[in-house]
């Protein structure tokens, strides 16, 4: 049973790394602040959570495993509240969300990147 859990660790860590890459891709490619906020606060925290879980599977004892999960819980609290703070601040500054409307008559749906 324990060996099975420890064997799960590397796969979870690899999956977490993939999520980190996806988050960075979002940070670079998404068109505006609000979309990038999603990339960062959801995808990256999922990546960190998978890595913490993977390390907890390989940890030597229950206390060490719980400490990894404590770090993840803390980052979840901090970054989810930070996201709402940043989003409402950007709204108050007058930053409009980027809305992609497909053009009705002309067939060209060219995206505008502000």
């Amino acid at each position: 049973m324990t060996e099975w859990i420890a064997g799960l660790g590397p796969w979870l860590i690899a999956a977490g790394t993939l999520f980190f890459f996806a988050g960075s891709l979002g940070l670079i490619r998404f068109p505006d602040l609000y979309a990038r906020l999603h990339a960062l606060t959801k995808v990256d925290n999922l990546g960190l959570g998978l890595i913490c879980l993977g390390l907890a599977c390989q940890a030597s004892g229950l206390a060490a495993a719980l400490k990894y999960l404590l770090v993840w819980g803390l980052v979840l609290i901090a970054s989810s509240i930070s996201a709402t703070l940043i989003a409402s601040t950007a709204m108050a500054c007058g930053l409009r969300p980027h809305q992609h409307r497909p053009a009705m008559r002309t067939g060209t749906t060219k995206e505008s990147h502000p």
């Binding site: 860590i13 790394t17 960075s24 390989q58 770090v71 980052v75 930070s82 940043i86 108050a92 500054c93």
Partner: protein, 96 residues
């Protein structure tokens, strides 16, 4: 071995955030990029701590997480104070 490779990859991933940090365009974007650097560093620290068998690195990671929240809170209060003082220059606060 796996841990070190993953840590190196995550470090490169944080390097990608430096582009957004340099580019902007708004200050909130820069704060987001700093947040990505923090999250990646936490993961790097945890992985290195497991690889080198140094449990104290988890404490450093915990500090990173705590202090990132303070930095964001500070940024938000600063922007709201600026908005409060000069309601005329709204664009200024988001762009500067």
């Amino acid at each position: 071995m796996l841990h070190t490779t993953t840590a190196a990859l995550l470090l490169l991933n944080a390097g990608v955030a430096l582009w957004r940090l340099h580019r902007g365009p708004t200050s909130a974007d820069r704060m987001l990029a700093a947040q990505l650097v923090t999250t990646s560093s936490i993961a790097v620290l945890l992985l290195l701590g497991a690889e080198l068998e140094q449990p104290a690195l988890v404490d450093v990671a915990l500090l990173f997480g705590l202090l990132a929240a303070v930095a964001t809170a500070n940024f938000v209060t600063r922007t709201w104070t600026l908005l409060h003082e000069e309601t005329g220059s709204r664009e200024e606060a988001s762009r500067d």
